[in-house]
Amino acid sequence: MTEILVPKLVPLITVHLYKIAVAAGVATGLIALADILADRRPLNRLTMTDAVEIGALALLASVGTDLAECLILPGLVVGLAELMATSEAIIARYAGPKRPTFEPLDMEVLRTAPKAVMIGLVVYGAILTGFTGGAVAGTGAAFYLMCRYVRPRYEDWKGMESISGIGWALWVVGFSTFFLSPRDWLLALILSGTGGILVKVGPKLTLLGYAIGYDVQVKGER
């Protein structure tokens, strides 16, 4: 079995680690289930079922091939969708129509660090390019927008969603260029990789920071 499926390049110890990884994933689920049995309050049950989902992701990730990498994303999305639906049910049951209010965070790192962290993350994300780079750059921008001390004027950032739309269009153009004229693969790669995904994923995360920063600005009231 191992000779056929795993290439010779992979060291043998990595192949043997797979059994340990499977055991760890199942053990995560069992520990979370034991916690559910011990403490049956609804909120604890919800958080511990999320821990069970992490065990499922660990089982998927431990396979470690390209196909497994493709399977993690839909698995994560489906798990998140189920978690959100369940938490909506519990919120409607126990909190009623009114949502709880909250105090904005006040930490020193939010007052001193944002500019340096943002510049570092955005530059690093631009170097990475692609989906990962977009996520890194977007995290930096989101961190900057979420910080309380800087408090940028949110009206200046309102065009962000249209940038995301343009990035999406670029990605579609690049993707169809691959099929229509495969000789222009470099142009298609630049369009979809840099112009598309980076510009698309970055503003998506920035929008998140924009929304949270808006919440902070109005003192936690929605």
Binding site: M1, A56, A68, L71, V78, A81, E88
Partner: protein, 223 residues
């Protein structure tokens, strides 16, 4: 070679290759009949008899609630149709999870009933917990054989995949049993049936049941 009888039609859809075989066609026809039931029936007053205190409760369903439930029933039936026709193990698990979400929405959208929300919460927790053996089983099958396509898995010799295949089959069975609410987990669904007030209980019941019968076919085709 195919345990489900003769293949009638391959649906040309990428590398997932859904197919309709003899048994699949029967299950699919039953599913579409289930979908037709809520569409063509038109009962807007639901009646419940409480045996402990002899009384009869009646509820007039608002059109908005009925519209939301019809949309969710449509989603649930479409997900079940995907489960029945798919030719890929991981796609099967994804459609099964989608079915669970839609069924939870069907239970939870009952207006003015707090117990229905609690039932939806319990059902959702069961679906989330069953996600571990479900996805884990699919991942183990992938690790054992290197593929997830049912068309390739059917042609493998028995015993292919080794311990990962056997363990994956056990985990996948546990996941499907939990997600579809069969057997010991049926208690999750029993409470909720009385809370839906009517014809959509059919949708939940039959989609999960037919899903499980489709899973038996998949289990027979694994090496």
């Amino acid at each position: 070679m195919y345990p489900s009888g003769q293949i009638l039609y391959y649906i040309p859809l990428g590398d997932i290759v859904p197919y309709i075989s003899t048994i699949n066609a029967v299950i699919l026809a039953l599913l579409l009949a289930v979908l037709a039931l809520p569409i063509f029936s038109n009962t807007d007053i639901y009646v419940e008899v409480d045996h402990k205190i002899p009384r009869i409760k009646a509820k007039i369903v608002m059109p908005r609630e009925d519209k939301i439930k019809a949309a969710l029933a449509l989603g649930s039936t479409m997900a079940a149709a995907g489960v029945v026709t798919t030719g890929d193990v991981f796609n099967f698990t994804l459609f099964l999870s989608l079915l669970g979400i839609c069924n939870m929405g069907l239970i939870g959208t009952t207006v003015g009933d707090e117990f229905a929300l609690e039932c939806a919460f319990n059902y959702g927790l069961m679906c989330l917990i069953a996600g571990l053996p479900l996805f884990g089983g699919a991942a183990l099958i992938l690790a054992g054989t290197g593929t997830l396509s049912l068309h390739q898995l059917m042609h493998m010799p028995p015993g292919a995949g080794g311990w990962a295949m056997e363990y994956g089959k056990i985990l996948l069975t546990a996941g499907v049993v939990g997600e579809a609410g069969v057997g010991p987990f049926y208690a999750v669904k029993v409470d909720s049936f009385r809370r839906i007030w009517g014809r959509y209980a059919f949708v939940i019941h039959l989609t999960t049941l037919l899903t499980f019968s489709r899973y038996l076919e998949i289990l027979a085709s694994l090496p």
